[in-house]
Subunit: 274 residues, 6 copies
């Protein structure tokens, strides 16, 4: 099999968005459409009807041949699909481990050369909230979900070193309409900044294998993206306008609560039951 020369475009013939029915997927769906002729959408949940320029291809990520088909004819992938919360191991295993392997195998087979991978801050959730880490700090996942995202980061590192498939791993903080609690004053990323981040990673001339934390320009920061400055992500939003309301709702914190101590927040209290 031979592929055309790997090309870094600014606009794509066909982009694949997985997890398109999820919270972030629904936000990105109309926004990514602007960067491609065809936006292929996939999810296991209902995707609604296809708008012009959209095409639907729902697959289960653990279905290897369906995923292989999914990447056919695709220029680049924004992979939001999979489990995005702490659950028992089996769903995580299927979607985030088997599923991510299937995705990269499909990319290899079909010559897809760039993937924007929704990793998570929970890859490093067991660092403390009173320390600041950069993107090279050793992984300290805060649960099985975080461990599965670490798997995805390492697998994609291998596919870059071995096959030249570029991946930007986005360690997304908390992307919601607004920050919901005190922790999110540090971890929040607006939907507009999410778009900026994803588009920066899709259109950067070269991505190699990069790791970047997905946060807005918040006043409180635990994560230092200096080593990812080549990606050209400069957030424009901040959690600060929401501070007063958030603090009013949560005026005190218990300093013995692991969710207050560790960056992963409440995730560090889940995981298999003790």
């Amino acid at each position: 099999m031979t592929f055309p020369a790997p090309v870094s475009p600014l606009r794509f013939s066909r982009l694949l968005l997985t997890g398109a029915a999820g919270g972030l997927g629904r936000e990105l769906r109309p926004r990514l459409k602007r960067y491609c002729d065809t936006l292929r959408l996939s999810d296991i949940a209902d995707l609604g009807g296809a708008s012009p320029g959209e095409e639907m291809q729902p697959v289960r990520l653990e279905d290897r041949s369906a995923v292989a088909d999914l990447l056919k004819g695709v220029d680049a992938v924004v992979h939001l699909g999979g489990v995005s919360v702490e659950t028992p191991f089996d769903p995580i295993l299927q979607a985030n481990i088997v599923g991510v392997f299937n995705l990269y195998e499909a990319a290899r087979i079909h010559g897809v050369k760039r993937i924007v991978f929704a990793s998570s801050n929970h890859v490093t959730g067991f660092y403390r909230q009173d320390e600041v880490i950069d993107t090279d700090a050793p992984m300290r996942p805060d649960g099985l979900y975080g461990v599965s995202k670490a798997f995805g980061e390492n697998l994609s590192r291998f596919y870059f070193d071995r096959y030249g498939i570029e991946t930007a791993c986005l360690r997304i903080g908390s992307s919601f309409p607004e920050p919901k609690d005190r922790r999110m004053l540090a971890t929040w990323m607006s939907f507009d900044d999410l778009e900026r981040l994803v588009v920066a990673c899709l259109t950067a001339p070269i991505v190699g294998h990069s790791v970047i934390y997905g946060i807005s320009d918040n006043r409180t920061k635990w994560w230092d993206n200096t080593r990812a400055a080549h990606l050209g992500y400069v957030p424009q939003d901040s959690s600060e306008p929401f501070r007063a309301a958030v603090e009013a709702r949560q005026p005190t914190l218990d300093l013995r609560d692991p969710a207050v101590i560790y960056q992963g927040g409440a995730f560090v209290r889940t995981g298999p039951l003790e």
Copy 2:
């Protein structure tokens, strides 16, 4: 003795401000009142009359039992008290060494869980003005005053590791109404930024034991606060508007002068006489 669960509040029942009659103390006094029901004030100099919500408790820091009383019923401390210039050893010993020990012992005895400690840039004053250091650089004090502040930082580190008492060590640059000389173009912190810094440290969900340089967003920087970004201090002021006036007053510098070479400025020329 048992204490209630350590709680991180946004507003305090009773805050203690030591050194309340000093230059920075007088600035912070009305500002901190907004964050507490009662502001307890202490100094050895005249504190004037008590405003509503203020209470006076003047003590000498070297008086262990008086200091123990001082911290009774207090939620958190902003410790500006002590000697703040280079002097002979004995006053520094009493106020900044014995006094700081007394303060932490009192905090331990009364279950006070957070202290904002006015340390000083003179803890690292023997670095050169042509190098940039971060908050983890080995200490290089520029005089006995700087050595005493280093003592306070180390003592507070111990009280955190051993007793869980949180401290933010503020290595304050030069906090005055405006920068007075060329060096202060790098080291200046406005009073508004001082307030921002102190309040950030009082109200951050978790502080642990943190070190941060206290400067405004000046154009020239010797100190990199990246590792303290979790404190949420983002300065809003800058020495830049004062540059022209300062430079007009001090158009040349002697490159052989230790006060020009080292970050501590004129402090590096004091210390015990040669």
Copy 3:
């Protein structure tokens, strides 16, 4: 469920050795017997007959309940089980991902507090042979096998941070009777040094979560174990006595061969077919 206080012993009532029928397992079996009253052995391959003080409990690692039983009554585990070469994904998935998860869940359920985990140098196999890395260098696995070992390291990190189960991750180089090729002059670990390493990790007062490369005191080194010096592993053997014979068999190397360029050697050329 409550467990007795976690204790760090020098000698064990019952040790579990998984992968006991493999190359390293057969070596360690008689050696580990000296450190315990009962040595429980497990593998999917034939284990031969039980010697005095041995007990057999063969399980498939992917069988969650069998693995749960396997760890019952065990003080500590030396986990060599699983796939130890590059294979298609499914066997690796079952043994090294599902299997390792099962092992840690079993350890959590039964209160086992220390695991010596046979990780692999292939976790970092895509570093070059002309660079020296330490145990904190970001992971760069050289194949699916390496990715699976990275999974095990991250999972065990989580089980330590969350449940206090200690793990020493041994990134074993090449443990054979003697080095077989030029690469192994750098990566070789004698069986005696393997024993020293495993025993050091079993009997160190405290292991926390540690990573260490498993090599003898070879003349050529790619891996710096300075950060693991607390484990007390000091190799006594070296590949040097084998150098002349090895070099005679392999007098030239092709500098364009990825197996010569990268630390993972021939593993970097395997992985899913191109």
Copy 4:
């Protein structure tokens, strides 16, 4: 020979600008005039007529005695002279190696105490565009031009350590009226920012031997100037307003092209012919 005390002024009696007829020299010529009584200009190309306060002293940099004369009576030097592109070795040798040696010898002889040296990003051009380096990263020049600039940086380091002559090495990215291609979105420095950078280095109280990358505040960054923050260079411009036009002209990039992979861009493809 004795010199007056080394003084760090804000305004100079006589400044020397070499390379004054080149692209950057023509820009800086009127701007630097504002910071001195007399601006001495030198180049081997035509400098046009002298404006008031200018004096012309054209020399070939390889002419040792002429260069010695050139620095007589000079307070500080902005050294843009020499070859600024990849050429055969001999012109680079004469202008950038012999010439720079002549310049520093002249500075030593005449007691000139500060030099702003136009180094180049090509000193580190063989780093990849998907990595971010700081000013201490080991040099990786991308051609003979870059090697010659590395020579200048090392020579000036020696003249500082040995003779106290201060140098700011500006690793200039791409200083043109506007960015010409996608790479320059990362490397561009506006002429106004160039002036800010040069003036900051001329007027900083103390420079020692410093290295700083010369770029505007671009969205995409490969270079981290944190360690040079003492110089007080804060760029005010950005390549971002030019992005749309640049991307329209260069919508795709070939990811196999060394000029896309490495920071030095097309320079990495020149050098002695293969």
Copy 5:
């Protein structure tokens, strides 16, 4: 006052040994005699009779003028004096803070140019026993004793930066006839190695301000002296021959005991009472 040129000798006219009646002082007393014409001895405890070449000058370290007299005519100091265990603050304050200040002032006044200062591993005792630190790691003292030794290190740093008085800070582990417990297998230093270390620091051509951990070549290591290799200390002994006996006496450890978790051992449990 003028002093003769600072000279680095191999043999001293007069050496001062403080703390000469303590455990380490009694060991070093006959050994140091070999390196000087006169060995001046000081302590507050009984020093016994003076041997030939010895002179006695007992002082209390908190007596400033007596300490000033003590350093008169001295070439170099080995300062073992002061409190060497965790006690209430006041004795530590007098001996280790006031006393060390007195010592350095006396050195400044009398032109003494090198001091070997017995610091302690307790300056960093709150690091964990499963981590390895080097001599630049931020201080984390484990008690008031450790805080006082940190004071001495910082004070001596100042006296070097300001007055050129050289100090080697020896962070002594556990120097006893033999290791007494499991922790000392990591921290032990034989008396012969203690002599090697002190003599290396006295006779190194240049010491500047250096920090080094005082341990033998033990199998288990928490401390990396790489940055102190210029001192030329290469230990010749090891705790290993004592391992079997030590382990027999202490076959199990409680992993919840702070003395097992932290490098400072039992010191971390002392400090002011909780």
Copy 6:
């Protein structure tokens, strides 16, 4: 022009030794003969008669075409040629700058793939003798000679990054029959260790571009070769047996002497006259 595949052999058909008539060249000449069929020798000084298996080809390094001829038919080069002491700039320029460029151009033209380059500790001679650096520390040359060796290191880095020509840069300390002074107790390398180092670099499977300090296993060390451990150089000798004699000859040192303060020793006092 096409070359055969780059091959890393253990024994060479033809080795080139430049500077063969110098102090180190005369030592290496008989030793290197054992690793090749033909040893080509070059120098500008008298080489004496050719032994069997030797061939003479004396050239001036600044003669580009003669150097091009010199590398014809050569498998690898040990480049000791050039100026090895501080001299005026012109001889250094011709031999160490023009000459080294000629050498690498010749290597490129003739497909020579590995060069062992005699660099020097004087590349970093302005670090202090009380600090320990590794091979990545920024260059701080102590004279024009050191600057020229820095040029060679940077040029060879470029020829590796661009053309794949491997170089091991040996920052040789002091290689003499025995150490001559106190400084050489730190910097000395025996001739046997020199051979070990050169042979390790010639025969290592892959060298890339590496930097290593050339010293024996001396007790006092300023240089940390950890990052060069892949080269497999393990010194067997030490300056220690010579210590007593050396110290007897030089019992005191003047701590104000730059040659005592800086690693470069007396070189730091040479350079262009002040």
